[in-house]
């Protein structure tokens, strides 16, 4: 058997370059195209004068709620709940508080990720991100979601909760993170 050969000439290198470009296009192309298709749409939506969130194209306000004050944006089966509360602890504590006071009371079964991802928004605020799955409502619908909790130095706690039926979250996660990242917190 002959020893493996390395491409030497420019002509031999060309196919390698074509393969490299193809791999790059396949791996990163979706994000580039998806980003180009995703643009801010409509005016920012505010919650209790504490946070303003800019919906991306396809997302629409679906309602407001109290206790805690919040707004729901939807896109098909995907949802983004944004709530704002006064809070003086850290982001991880706020995420835990949200799980205890908002998610657990409505869930028949709830499983929250043990890993906490520490993130930072575009404006530099630190945040904590966790994922969950559970059975919610009378119909015990399987729901999966991702919470990002942010606490501003002025004592405003903001939680964004992107959620949807099983299998949907992965297709809204990009938008949810982008809107969370760009949120303006007082």
């Amino acid at each position: 058997m002959s020893a493996p050969k390395l491409p030497r000439s420019g002509a031999a290198l060309l196919p390698t370059v074509v393969v490299a470009v193809t791999i790059g296009a396949v791996v990163f192309g979706g994000y580039a195209v998806g980003g180009a298709l995703s643009r801010p749409a409509g005016p920012p939506v505010g919650v209790a004068g504490a946070v303003a969130i800019q919906p991306l194209s396809g997302w629409e306000p679906a309602g407001r709620f109290d206790e805690p004050a919040g707004v729901r944006l939807t896109r098909g089966a995907g949802n983004l709940d944004v709530v704002a509360v006064p809070f003086t602890g850290d982001a991880e504590a706020l995420a835990g508080e949200y799980v205890r006071t908002v998610l657990e009371p409505g869930a028949e079964r709830l499983s929250v990720s043990r890993r906490v991802e520490h993130v930072r928004t575009a404006s530099g605020l630190p945040g904590a991100r966790i994922a969950y799955v559970g059975l919610f409502g009378r119909a015990l619908t399987p729901i999966e979601g991702e919470i990002t909790a942010i606490v501003s130095p002025s004592g405003v706690g903001v939680v964004t909760d992107g959620w949807g039926p099983e299998g949907v979250l992965r297709y809204i996660r990009g938008d949810v993170r982008a809107m969370t990242d760009a949120a303006e917190v007082a």
């Binding site: 058997m1 002959s2 493996p4 050969k5 390395l6 491409p7 031999a12 196919p15 390698t16 393969v19 490299a20 193809t22 791999i23 396949v26 791996v27 990163f28 192309g29 979706g30 994000y31 195209v33 998806g34 298709l37 995703s38 396809g58 896109r75 098909g76 089966a77 995907g78 949807g164 039926p165 299998g167 949907v168 992965r170 297709y171 809204i172 990009g174």
Partner: protein, 377 residues
């Protein structure tokens, strides 16, 4: 360089991913790998022996497997997420959750696996000298991909408990293991090998058309598998009947492609045998090959029988030498094919090597009759 770089970078990410699975369910993760080892070993053996005459270098085979298991799976996880976003942008998240597996995942995964096989063909073009070589590298790449994807499914989708892992093993390996990535990338690999190995025989356009056709066949098989078409899998498993329905449903989707690949393999093997016969016919009577040896060499059943007889008469050591002799006689055909003329010193050296192996075989007590049989023509 590109092949190794991608493999190293994705290797770190792949290990990290396995760490996550192990943390999620240590026992389920370990059981997954143990069960998959039972699947991988016979499949690797089957792929290895598919190429009757020229065994591929182990280093390249390992490279193909690792590309599928490490590079292709890691890159595909990232790429599928990105293209899923595009489908979600265009059709909404619900549509994306139903159709991404059909619309983008097959193309993304097949292109990434195929890239590894193409890079191997660029690194070691001489090793892609027949369609079966491409099948071997492609199938190993697909096998690597399937194994890592199975671990993901066992731990994440089937729950990661021992019962869940066993259920996953039944659904994805025992019921569907004959189909899937091994076939898709095997076909694509055949396309690559056809394109590379027929440079002197076929015009560029025809080679390209056949290669694209084989890659497309693998892709179509993947799309069909992921699509709701011909889907007779039970929506839930309540009893033994549902369990037994799973392999039948898998066969309905997978058997046509498997049959297609079997036909291609048979054609490729026949062509390989014809090539070997024509390459060695003029060697009969030289010190490297006798007429009887050639007839045994061209007939896989006769080859196995000759080794069985040798083992009975002269033991394992003699079988090893006989196997070596037969392999080097196949290599004699390769050397002839690569030589520029009949007086090439490499041909004389290979003939002499075969002769020395035959002499060594004859010197083993009990082997002489078989050696005589095989040399008497």
């Amino acid at each position: 360089m590109l092949f190794a770089s991608i493999l190293i970078v994705t290797g770190f990410l792949a290990v990290e991913q396995q760490e996550v699975f192990r943390e999620l369910s240590p026992s389920g993760w370990a059981l997954s790998w143990a069960l998959l080892a039972l699947y991988v070993l016979p499949v690797v053996l089957l792929i290895y022996v598919l190429d009757l005459y020229e065994r591929e270098p182990v280093s390249l085979m390992v490279g193909a497997f690792l590309w599928g298991a490490v590079a292709a799976t890691t890159l595909a996880a990232y790429a599928n997420e990105g293209w899923g976003l595009v489908v979600a942008r265009l059709g909404g998240p619900e549509f994306a959750s139903r159709w991404t597996a059909v619309l983008t995942a097959p193309l993304v995964e097949e292109v990434l696996k195929l890239s590894g096989v193409v890079l191997l063909a660029l690194i070691a073009t001489d090793e892609f000298d027949d369609v079966l070589d491409g099948l071997v590298y492609g199938a190993l790449c697909g096998l690597g991909f399937a194994v890592v994807e199975d671990v993901f499914y066992f731990v994440s989708v089937f729950g990661g408990t021992p019962t869940g892992v066993l259920a996953g093993f039944w659904v994805r390996v025992l019921s569907s293991g004959l189909y899937g990535h091994v076939l898709y990338t095997g076909l694509a690999g055949m396309g690559v090998a056809y394109f590379v190995s027929r440079r002197d025989e076929e015009p560029f356009g025809r080679r390209l058309a056949v290669a694209v056709g084989l890659v497309a066949a693998g892709l179509a098989g993947h799309v069909l598998w992921n699509s709701p078409l011909l889907d007779t899998f039970p929506s839930r498993v309540d009893d033994v009947g549902d369990l037994l329905q799973i392999p039948l449903a898998a066969a309905l989707k997978g058997l046509p492609l498997l049959a297609f690949v079997v036909v291609l393999v048979r054609l490729a093997r026949r062509r390989e045998r014809m090539w070997l016969g024509s390459a060695l016919r003029s060697e009969v009577g030289s010190e490297g090959l006798t007429a009887v040896e050639l007839s045994v060499l061209l007939d896989p059943v006769a080859r196995r029988r000759s080794r069985r007889d040798m083992r009975r008469r002269a033991g394992d050591r003699a079988v090893r030498v006989l196997r070596r002799l037969q392999r080097e006689q196949v290599n004699l055909a390769m050397v002839r094919a690569r030589a520029t003329d009949e007086d090439d010193p490499a041909i004389a050296a290979q003939r002499a090597y075969c002769r020395s192996l035959r002499d060594a075989l004859a010197a083993i007590p009990g082997a002489a009759p078989a050696a005589h049989d095989s040399a008497s023509g």
